[in-house]
């Protein structure tokens, strides 16, 4: 389960905000200025509104151009195409962001700027999940009066059916497998092969009445609320389900519904007359535009050019600008003022392999930590627009993040040669040593990191030999294969990790839990700390959200104290917002603009 099955693809897409020291945030509704005045002006609204400043990063941690003005059409474009518009069959953050326009999952990331956005709030459910049986059983209640676009009232059975069909990976190959992995399926595979007349034969989900839904898990899992946020819980009426063709007309439960849907070309969303905003008090949806138009398979460079010219409102993938447009925006102060650099739940880091002598000695690992030029690491990823210099493994957008600076990454970002030399002495290698650094040959940025580390470590006598490996087999045959890494002396291994959503478990589990280490194909490249394993177990039993989130920060601190991770940068993406858009902000849950709150002054 957990983070990043589709990592390399998804990861690049997940962008997020936050990161500035100010965690203060304003919800969109609280920061509106009355009437249409704010909406029509792209200029500054008073700072006292809690947001509403203009300029670079005005959409990060605060609302840019707050407004309640309804109407207009928002145009979006996608350089590619959706996995599928079917909520059971989508895995990209932008798809999860936009699906909220036409579907209501049990829970949702709050539509709010700053850290608030990474918090779960009830959407179709009345409250967050209630855990019983040591977090193996989770109960939700459906809000009364929520209707599909045809006016039918939504019941818990529609949600159960939606989850059931998402289990069928033959029909819906692209969605995540969290439910497959965690529900106590007892052999259940798919409602399409279900002998139950109502197609509700899955015993792991009970619907004792129309408003109650109960999930039974195989093992305790305190983070289940995040699964209740997945689009797979968006209700699907069994009678209208056409399997793999359902994507042609998804029955809406959200504020908008499909007016046209020309697969692979364009779809439009218009207001859903049966959506009642009074049943949606928690998510923060504002539903300002009358219409959304989304063009598909548009040339990526065209998208950037149309965004900069104001012809297009949103690059829906949230990928950020391409290299050419990014260069243009950064070089032009006026354009830069319309852009946001948003942190995403991803860290680019290197593992210092404790299997390889002399790095089995913690002092030698610490010498590497101190010696590396972190500014050079940041430059390899594009400088400040590529990300912030990381002082720990956990990205700041993940709840539970704790500030620390164990190896002076913030205090002495160019490296501390004196401290590194002290550590080398303590390690018994006062003149340095030789080891290897591996990276993925297809990734020029990782190559730049390897070359940069070679330069900066040479200052303290640590001699690095650079070894590129193909990324397709990086985990299967090379860096992710402990025997190979040890035999070939891969002392430092460059890579990165991102989470499907900003959550400590999703981010950490696959990269720091030593028990996940197998003979090959590992994503944990050598972090073996028993205390960390124990903390992970403890977190999974902890249903109190605040207590659990605190553990993620403790794990981060323990990993850093062990010096087996050299954090590089906390990744960022550069997003562009045309000035005619209102109520724009980056949602930390998705790492891109929130598509349920924005509006436009263009009619």
């Amino acid at each position: 389960m957990t983070a990043v099955v589709a990592v390399s693809a998804v990861a690049a897409l997940v962008l997020t905000a936050c990161g500035s020291s100010s965690k203060k945030s304003a919800s969109p509704s609280s920061s509106v200025t009355p009437g249409g005045s704010a909406s029509s002006a792209s200029s500054a609204t008073p700072a006292s509104s809690g947001g509403g400043t203009t300029g670079f990063n005005a959409g990060v941690d605060k609302v840019f151009n707050p407004s309640t003005q309804k109407g207009g059409t928002v145009t979006m474009a996608n350089a590619g195409d959706w996995d599928s518009l079917d909520p059971a069959d989508m895995y990209y953050a932008y798809e999860w962001d936009l699906v909220r326009l036409y579907g209501r999952s049990l829970l949702a990331f709050k539509s709010a700027p700053g850290a608030e956005g990474a918090k779960l709030v009830p959407d179709l459910a009345t409250a967050l999940g209630v855990a019983t049986d040591n977090a193996k059983t989770w109960t939700y209640h459906i809000r009364p009066g929520v209707k599909f676009e045809d006016g039918t009232v939504i019941t818990s059975k529609d949600v159960k059916y939606a989850v059931e069909r998402s289990l069928d990976k033959d029909v819906f190959p692209d969605g995540p497998t969290y439910f497959n992995d965690n529900l106590d399926l007892q052999g259940y595979t798919s409602p399409y092969k279900d002998t139950d007349p109502a197609k509700l034969g899955l015993k792991a989900i009970e619907t004792p009445d129309d408003s109650t839904i109960v999930f039974h898990l195989k093992t305790s899992f305190s983070d289940f609320d995040y699964f209740a946020m997945l689009p797979a819980t968006v209700p699907v009426p069994a009678a209208k389900d056409t399997g793999s063709k359902y994507k042609e007309h998804v029955v809406s439960s959200g504020p908008y519904m499909f007016a046209t849907n020309d697969l692979g070309k364009e779809f439009t969303l218009v207001r859903n007359p049966n959506y009642d905003a009074s049943t949606d008090p928690d998510t923060g949806r504002t539903s300002l535009p009358d219409k959304y138009v989304v063009d598909l398979n548009v040339n990526a460079a065209d998208i950037d050019n149309r965004l900069l010219s104001g012809d297009l409102d949103v690059d829906v993938t949230g990928n950020g600008l391409g290299a050419a447009a990014q260069g243009k925006v950064l070089a032009d102060a006026k354009l830069k003022a319309n852009s946001d650099s948003a942190l995403i739940p991803r860290t680019w880091f290197s593992v210092i392999n404790p299997d390889v002598a002399p790095l089995d000695n913690i002092a030698c690992r610490k010498a590497v930590e101190y010696a590396v030029d972190k500014v050079g690491y940041q430059r390899a990823y594009g400088g400040a627009t590529g990300g912030d210099i990381a002082t720990g493994l956990l990205p700041p957008v993940i709840p539970g993040f704790q500030k620390m600076d164990q190896y002076e990454a913030a205090a002495m970002p160019n490296g501390d040669v004196a401290k590194a030399k002290d550590q080398l002495k303590a390690c018994g290698q006062p003149n340095g040593f030789s080891t290897n650094i591996s990276y993925r040959v297809e990734r020029p940025k990782e190559k730049a990191v390897a070359e940069e580390m070679q330069q900066s470590l040479a200052q303290v006598g640590i001699k690095l030999t650079i070894k590129p490996y193909p990324q397709g087999d990086y985990f299967k045959l090379y860096a992710g294969k402990p025997d190979f890494a040890k035999a070939n002396g891969l002392g430092i291994m460059v890579y990165g990790w991102g989470a499907d959503w900003p959550d400590g478990y999703g981010f950490l589990d696959q990269i720091v839990d030593s028990r996940t280490i197998r003979a090959a194909g590992n994503t944990n490249l050598g972090i073996k700390i028993p205390a960390v394993d124990a903390m992970l177990d403890k977190a999974l039993q902890t249903t109190d959200i605040a207590a659990r989130e605190k553990i993620w920060g403790q794990i981060d601190a323990a990993v850093m104290a062990n010096a087996s991770v050299l954090p590089g940068i906390w990744a960022k993406g550069l997003l562009y917002r045309p000035p005619n858009l209102t109520n724009m902000f980056v949602n930390d849950g998705f790492g891109m603009y929130d598509y349920t709150t924005l509006g436009t002054t263009k009619k």
């Binding site: 020029p444 070359e451 030999t465």
Partner: protein, 330 residues
Amino acid sequence: MTVPLEVMGSGGDAQPEAVLEGVRAIEGRSLGQIAWMRLKRDRVAIAGGVVVIILILVAVLAPLIVKLLGHPPNQFHYSQVDADRQVPIGRFGGISWHFLFGVEPVNGRDLFSRVVYGSRVSLLIGFLATLLSVGLGTVMGMIAGYFGGWIDTLISRVMDVFLAFPVLLFALALAGVIPDTAFGLSGDSLRIAVIIFIIGFFNWPYIGRLMRGQVLSLREREFVDAARSLGAKRSYILYREVLPNLVAPILVYSTLLIPTNILFEAALSFLGVSVRPPQATWGGMLSDATSFYQIDPEFLFPAGLAIFVTVLAFNLLGDGLRDALDPRSR
């Protein structure tokens, strides 16, 4: 491409035959001398030859040249690169008196020094791989052509197999699994040796076939018959009678094969299986430049031009050599 002889200078000293009427006593000229005279008149080929010699000098004297005109090839110059955009601060890719070809984005390495050092890898691999395939091809071609029969059949089939071999894919696969040390070599020298072997070893059938055809006709010539009837040993005939007649095609083919091999090496570097970073290679620099071409297109030029000029120079020289050595082939 060569200028017709008629327009070259005054007729008097234009043609070797005319020169023979000169003041001094008539003396015989070897084939080599005649070819050299023809070559000298081919200005384009001479230009190519001069560039080739300069390139060789640059490769050999790289440390000195870089010391005088550049910076160490792997040294970072962050001060030359914009911290926000990671592109060179100076115009035209950061070209200045201190950085003659500009600097690399992100780390600011001196592109002049890297091009100069890259020429070492390219030329070394280009020359040695050519030497290997020409040596192998000549030996095998001569054996096949001279002995004929089942030996010819066997060698010819082996050549067919080699010609059908997907060399690039093989090179990619093999270069990916080169160990750190083997055959008493390690690191980059081992990788260069392996690449030379791959390129050289899979290219020999081309010249092998050429040689076989030449030998097939040569062995029927009178002078070979004469040697044979005088009781010369086979090895003597091959080495003393046949081989000298193959020198011209070998020379021409080698000169044309070197740029092909340089291109092949550049392709391997581009795909990231040549020597390891941070060692500069032209192909590797091109590969690095592709990720910046939209924001720093100047980065493409130094390595791209270096490859272009080198390949062009060798080809011009090779064409001129062919014309000079074998005027009938025109």
